[in-house]
Symmetry: C2
Subunit: 330 residues, 2 copies
């Protein structure tokens, strides 16, 4: 019962404080190998731990012909494990069209909304999802090629609010070996082979090419780098948030920042203070690295002003002034 895999996951749960004593866990179960292994491993571990698995949640995406088969498989597993299962069917395609979202973004939003409701239904306070080291490495490479900076590259978090990811240090291959050893089955997601999805291309082409070049598995190294970059970025953001609070004054429709103090901050902090300030003023708008460069140029006197999504930035009497766009400057 307590294999090396169980112990590894128990240590990961402890190290990241994923399940404090008394935690009531909901497990997200798609029927794929990762989530089936997650369900079984957490049920095993809960027998000797101070957390309980109180329910499963399955979202029927209605995207694939196999959706009914996946739902049936998950219901049967719940019966066998004597756990309640919350099932919902959602038309992700329709939601994506209505909200002008990509299928991937729509599926993510619908999924986490559903998981929140399901947790409420079984009085769970944490939601376990099955992201693995494979997902971590793939996400890192996807973000890298899309131009993310260190804060974006950090990738997938072991915990974000109520959502926990106990398998983030484990490879998919290890999970499948565990399932095969226990004569457990799972449902294959045939869309994983579709190389029109960038994630699938990364999985089936980019990472194998990296492995051949290195002469071994590169996923663990990539996932490890992502975790360390995330730790650095989290701390740098905490430092920057406190510097922003010290350097800035809120005004109606904007922010004033002390330009001299900002210039004297080291680059990594200055960039993050600017980013946090812009996010605060511009609210929901997408902010990218180029916008920070534009603000930096204004701060250094290389540009008179910068018009950014949701905000205008100017230097006035040694104040860096961020004004919500559309509002008249004060």
């Amino acid at each position: 019962l307590t294999s090396a895999l169980h112990q590894q996951i128990r240590r990961f749960i402890q190290r990241h404080d994923l399940c404090p004593p008394g935690t009531r866990l909901l497990v997200a179960l798609s029927g794929g190998s990762d989530s089936v292994a997650l369900t079984l491993l957490l049920c095993d571990l809960s027998r000797n731990a101070r957390f309980a698995v109180v329910g499963l949640a399955h979202l029927n995406h209605q995207l694939r012909a196999s959706a009914a088969r996946d739902e049936q498989f998950c219901r049967e597993l719940a019966v066998r494990l004597k756990l309640p299962i919350v099932v919902e069917a959602v038309d992700v395609g329709g939601y994506a069209a209505a909200q002008h979202l990509s299928i991937e973004d729509a599926a993510r939003r619908v999924r986490y909304d559903f998981l929140g409701r399901a947790a409420g239904a079984v009085a769970a306070d944490r939601i376990a999802v099955g992201h693995t080291q494979d997902d971590q490495a793939e996400t890192f490479l996807l973000k890298l090629m899309r131009g993310a900076g260190p804060s974006g590259l950090g990738g997938i978090y072991p915990r974000r609010d109520a959502v926990i990811r106990p398998l983030l240090d484990v490879s998919r291959a290890e999970l499948r070996a565990f399932l095969r050893e226990g004569h457990e089955s799972w449902m294959e997601d045939e869309t994983n082979a579709d190389e029109r999805h960038p994630r699938n291309r990364v999985r089936h082409r980019v990472i194998p090419e990296l492995d051949r070049t290195y002469g071994g598995a590169t996923r663990p190294s990539i996932a490890r780098a992502a975790a360390l970059i995330r730790e650095d970025a989290e701390w740098l953001e905490r430092v920057s948030d406190s510097r922003l609070a010290a350097l800035s004054v809120a005004v109606p429709g904007g922010l004033h920042l002390d330009a001299a103090a900002l210039r004297s901050e080291p680059g990594p902090i200055r960039r993050r203070v600017l980013l946090a300030a812009l996010r605060e003023v511009a609210a929901e708008r997408a902010v990218c690295l180029g916008h920070i460069d534009a603000m930096d140029a204004v701060l250094d006197g290389l540009a008179a002003a910068a018009d950014l999504p949701g905000a205008r930035v100017e230097l006035r009497r040694e104040k860096l002034v961020l004004i919500q766009r559309g509002l008249a400057p004060k």
Copy 2:
């Protein structure tokens, strides 16, 4: 004369303070497209700047049949530009065998030794080398797959001591377009096609696969991420160095660190303090991420001691004690 490329490089030189007023530059010239473009661009820029190109340096590696042809090409370019050229022939293969180094490591060491001597010969105080955005992106991916953490991933520095890299933001394709436009020629390095070299595999297979997945050029994003990770890491190292000085006491053959104070440091700082301490005690030995984990385990009381390359680590009365290996503990 002042193309967009010239301006981009001038801004890069200013931003990173590569050529303070009065700088006397030696340019490393292999004869390849990057270094030929570097030589021509720096000569152009020096006409309106407060630095001077005072000489070229060419190392004949004697590794390739084409070495004599490359040397002749470089000598002719120096004559045309009316610049002195320092040329040396070194048997890199013999040096590598004698010093038990890989050809790549031996070539690097021989090269920088030679450039230092050549700078002395023409009284230069900075040495310009032709690393490009392509090299930066390739180095990042090579280090990523070999398991580097954020400090290692930072990649190639715009300046390290006297060595400067003015082309680090420019792609090889841009440099070749510049050369073709000026009807300039260069020498092709036929070993660049040899896919037994991991760097060439990254260049010819991994990056094109990333580009196809993304649907565009990914080198600029990768080089950008490397630069930002480097900025973060440089500052985190400065902070950690000052924390190490505050937390540690040197003893004969070792270091004592205040364990309670160390535990209260945030992870990114604690890890780097441990790394710097181990490097100080273990001197030349190679230190890797796994060693930091082992020290962390001792600090947290999860292990009694750790025997690391060149050093033993123990916890004694709330001091983390690092002892040079071979020496008796105090």
